[in-house]
Symmetry: C2
Subunit: 337 residues, 2 copies
């Protein structure tokens, strides 16, 4: 069996996460038992939710255990199989974690075979994977976007945000992004096809950002897909229309433990807003429907997701920390093969 390099969570962050919270270790891959397969990972997924799990705090998921492989989504190839369900050469998506190989139960390990004829393998970690389904769920089930409405999404150049915009355009909405810097905003408008993108880095406070949003959203905002929280959320709330709907997907601004108060909660009342948090893994029954739409969009070239690709397992911690600061551009993955 091959040697397996792995990244463990070594310690929990105090405030900002740091590289020394992680540790690279090498181990032997154990021999397969009946019903198991050995997967060689081609790409690891790096996602903001992982930062939340590094804390030892009450949340929707149990914390990432210390001294164990960082959990996370992976795509790769079956290299050995003792299950009739998979054979060597199969491309699979799973939750293999930050390591080069994983031994997975074919029945209970959550492995899923994927077709790479139309969709590049790594996109099953992004646009045609968990982030894409997250976008689809929030937009269709919580925001309930309808033709003619204006939908705003924060972190618009990211894996989730880009899919929100593309799916909103498919539904005849005006799609407006919020992103950091001219490069990301240009990509959001020109390559993803959003109607407008506002650069939050040009604004020091929520009222200033709200004024920019007023220009980008002349008919107000009907639906908001929230990935970041804090000042950006405050600004959008100032522009929400009556009966607007807010899907709360992430609040990356607060992941380091900083307080991120919502400045104007009374707007929920005066504008009769609905604000709802969700976790996409609790709605598995809708994944096939979402993945079908997303796969078609990517396969047909209508949605060309962008990726930031870090090279080699050892680059995962720094790539992850950079993503938390918005240094990635599109879906952040780590390429292992």
């Amino acid at each position: 069996m091959p040697q397996n390099r792995q990244i463990f969570l070594e310690s929990r962050p105090q405030g900002e996460a740091r590289a020394d919270n992680f540790k690279l270790v090498t181990s032997e891959t154990p021999p397969l038992k009946d019903g198991e397969v050995l997967v060689r990972h081609h790409y690891l997924s790096l996602d903001p939710y992982m930062r939340g799990r590094m804390n030892d705090a009450k949340s929707y998921a149990a914390p990432q255990p210390l001294g164990q492989v960082m959990q996370g989504g992976t795509v790769g190839e079956v290299v050995e199989s003792r299950s009739a369900k998979f054979k060597p050469g199969d491309k699979v998506v799973g939750m293999g974690g930050w390591q080069e190989y994983a031994v997975v139960s074919a029945e209970q390990g959550g492995l899923r075979k994927v077709d790479t004829a139309q969709v590049p393998l790594s996109h099953y970690l992004g646009a045609v994977g968990m982030p894409g389904v997250t976008a689809w769920y929030g937009l269709t089930q919580i925001i309930q976007a309808r033709q003619g409405q204006t939908v705003v999404v924060s972190a618009a150049s990211g894996a989730v945000g880009s899919a929100v915009g593309v799916l909103a355009k498919q539904r005849g909405c005006r799609a407006v992004g919020i992103a950091g810097g001219p490069d990301k905003c240009g990509y959001v408008e020109k390559e993803l096809g959003f109607d407008a993108c506002v650069d939050y880095k040009q604004h020091a406070d929520a009222p200033s950002l709200a004024r920019a949003l007023k220009e980008a959203c002349p008919d107000g905002i009907d639906g908001y897909f929230e990935n970041v929280g804090g000042l950006v959320m405050d600004a959008v709330m100032l522009r929400m229309n009556a009966f607007g709907r807010v899907a709360l997907c992430g609040m990356i601004a607060g992941y380091d433990g900083k307080p991120i108060p919502m400045a104007y909660p009374q707007l929920i009342l005066t504008n009769r807003l609905l604000v709802q948090g969700f976790i996409v893994s609790e709605h598995m029954e809708l994944w096939p429907q979402a993945l079908q739409e997303l796969g078609t969009l990517v396969g047909s070239g209508k949605f060309r997701p962008r990726e930031s690709v870090a090279q080699g397992l050892e680059s995962a911690p720094e790539a992850f920390l950079g993503m938390l600061k918005g240094r990635n551009f599109g879906k952040q993955v780590v390429k292992l093969v």
Copy 2:
């Protein structure tokens, strides 16, 4: 025609509302035209929402105009009629405003005949009126309270809060109130039949109040009916269960223009909460159903709402200002006859 004493909004508050924002004037009641009725008001309703309308701010309703009669709910008796729909002696509920008499269009004036055989007239301003329907709507349509759940309501001894608790008990919920001081808490527990009531005045911050709520709500909180905002809302949010639902009905803590940030919006995400604001007057189609349940509860003596009764039109401003500070005990009305 009788002389009519009226209370006008004279100026808009800067911060706290004050008595000199109001002005007592006397006018002649104009003669009736065809289709109009003259109503002599027996009781005026004083409600927290009126404070919001005193500001010249964008909100769900147009601001109360300056130099005009304060708008508000009223009950009274038809004393003269030039409409076939009403006859002298009819008891009616309407939106007559802060004045002793009102000339009202029988067709468009929103007048509704009520039966005082089982339900005392003034209760049509409270438990069997707008506040009761507000409670019913938030509890049944937003919180969607179900048997066995724990429902918390702030301002629990007030017109809306008391109805929330009684309706929640009818649905087999554990009903927990939050109120200010031992008298109100005693009333909420002993007379209204809540399972527990927490005195927020015993707590200087949200974590302290949250600890008291933990005792009162051993299974956590599934539904929250919010009337006040600020610290109280923060504390309740710390105890919400996964998939909990929050009906945002009022945020009296912020009516004077003070900022009332929500301290922990990330709990909406981690607990997958739904938070929704509403205005009961936008859901008129449900009023008959709600009023029937509330009328039966009051008529049968299962729900005995408490009132704070101020005497005479001239007492309305001070009674209103006192209510905003929580000095009332139950539904605040002004008795004119």
